[in-house]
């Protein structure tokens, strides 16, 4: 590779030509071998990356809105908030189920009940590698198939804050696509007013969130919905797994009238936690209970 002589640049020219050709190949030609190459090359990097990310997380901890309170009060508030979110989510999940059942009730006698995940197991995962040029690019986690991670497994932070989902899994590692990445398709979400967060999902307005690439989402909303800064935004999108439904996406940051559509507002939603801010996430692993589902179906 590094030999000297009259042809010392010939090998480099060949390498350059091959690189140029590879750079223009379609993804379907690249995926079979470049992803394997990535796993091979990055495997020895993982321990160093894990240490580096842990150090980065220690140097810049995730944002804490209660940092001015005493540690005991902060813990109590965090616990209370997590409890509130958990019960609110259970309530909304039940409501969603009721809506589904009401819509399908005429057909239920002939169609078996849709199989729902009976159990979700949380799994802590550390970030081992981030995409250098993109703040909101793909990150790699130190959990893979051997730990039960699958494609589409949902990642949360601080219990109920959705941060992304798994797009690629190898035996020992997985790739997490942050929610704020521009490659994340548009997300349907429900908005709950800040002063009335207990309204039914039927009453909550639906908006479609599009990642802006800077960590925020933009959406259009009907002005009659009267969305306001601080309103809570929860995922409600059936292209996402059931474990992701009603997880918090963020809060409304700004609402301003659209000049070209007088009856609509332009809304910007900002997540409280984002993948670039955290050194670890919690994966929600679905455990399917086939026996229960079969009994239900029978």
């Amino acid at each position: 590779m590094f030999r000297r002589g009259p042809h010392r640049y010939a090998a480099f020219a060949v390498a350059l030509i091959i690189t140029s050709v590879v750079a223009l190949l379609p993804p379907s030609w690249l995926r079979p071998w470049t992803n394997d190459l990535e796993r091979l090359v990055t495997f020895p990097l993982a321990p160093f990356g894990h240490a580096g990310n842990s150090l980065a997380g220690w140097l810049r901890p995730a944002p804490d809105p209660y940092s001015d309170l005493s540690p005991a009060a902060r813990d109590r508030l965090n616990q209370a908030e997590a409890e509130k979110e958990r019960f609110a989510r259970l309530y909304r999940e039940r409501e969603r189920r009721i809506i589904e059942l009401e819509a399908d009730i005429a057909e239920l006698e002939s169609i078996p009940l849709r199989q729902m995940p009976a159990e979700t197991t949380p799994l802590r995962a550390n970030v081992t590698r981030r995409t250098p040029d993109k703040l909101h690019g793909v990150v790699h986690l130190n959990r893979g198939e051997s730990a039960g991670v699958e494609t589409n497994t949902v990642a949360v932070y601080s219990g109920t804050h959705l941060v992304g989902r798994i797009t690629e899994v190898s035996r020992l590692q997985s790739a997490l696509l942050p929610l704020t990445n521009t490659s994340t398709p548009a997300i349907n979400a429900l908005v709950y007013p800040r002063d009335r967060p207990d309204i039914s999902p039927r009453e909550a307005p639906v908006i479609q969130l599009i990642p802006n690439g800077d960590g925020t989402f933009s959406a259009d909303a009907d002005r009659v919905d009267q969305l306001a800064t601080g309103d809570f935004v929860y995922l409600y999108d059936h292209t996402w797994p059931d474990t992701a439904q009603h997880l918090m996406v963020g809060t409304i940051d700004t609402v301003r009238p659209k000049d070209d559509a007088p009856l609509r507002d332009a809304v910007v939603v900002r997540p409280r936690f984002m993948v670039p801010d955290v050194a670890n996430v919690t994966l929600l692993i679905e455990r399917q209970t086939n026996s229960v589902a079969m009994e239900d179906g029978a």
């Binding site: 223009l24 990356g49 240490a51 250098p132 040029d133 793909v138 797009t167 521009t182």
Partner: protein
């Protein structure tokens, strides 16, 4: 150039890129550490060593920069950094005889230039690819448009140039261990 020393520096650079870089993010812009290594090697190593080293740094940067493609998962695109850094390394080779190599400011300015050149090359490849194959251009970019991405990367270039001032000074302090073949110092005279 001692390739073992280069390997250690590259490992440190890659770990910094994939872990500590986000720590220094300011308004979504974060500095590139490997660009500084490209400049340092291109300033002091022999011509063929420089070209191979820049290509290798670029290939490894491509490998750790997976592209997310909607529901299709991720894929690794080898080329944008590899060709960009090679181009930047070649440009530094052309002008290194005219600069004060041992000045940290030189490393800073050349790092800015390196990131800009590498970005232009990368964005050109992304644009060309988006003409004939999926995914769309936005999958490759941190911002949704090529111009927005170029502005974003200009920010990265300036930030990298600033970070390269102290980093360049640290790298220059390690000069004796690198075993560069051409150590003819070109210092500014006071």
């Amino acid at each position: 150039m001692k390739w073992s020393i280069f390997g250690i520096a590259l490992l440190i650079g890659l770990v910094l890129e994939t872990s500590m870089r986000q720590l220094l993010a300011f308004h979504g812009v974060s500095p590139s550490f490997t660009a500084c290594l490209v400049v340092f090697v291109a300033l002091f190593a022999s011509r063929s060593s420089t070209l191979w080293a820049c290509w290798l740094i670029g290939v490894l940067m491509d490998i750790v920069s997976a592209v997310a493609w909607d529901a299709h998962g991720t894929f690794v695109l080898i080329g944008p950094h590899a060709l960009g850094y090679t181009l930047a390394g070649f440009a530094v080779l052309q002008i290194r005889a005219m600069v004060f190599r041992r000045r940290a400011l030189t490393v800073g300015v050349l790092t800015l230039m390196t990131v800009l050149l590498a970005s232009l090359m990368a964005i050109s490849i992304f644009v060309v690819r988006s003409w004939y194959t999926e995914p769309g251009l936005s999958a490759y970019l941190a911002h949704r448009t090529a111009m927005g991405e170029l502005g974003h990367r200009m920010g990265i270039a300036m930030y990298s140039g600033l970070i390269a001032l102290p980093l360049g000074w640290v790298l220059q302090a390690t000069l004796p261990v690198w075993g560069f073949e051409m150590m003819g110092p070109r210092r500014s005279r006071r």
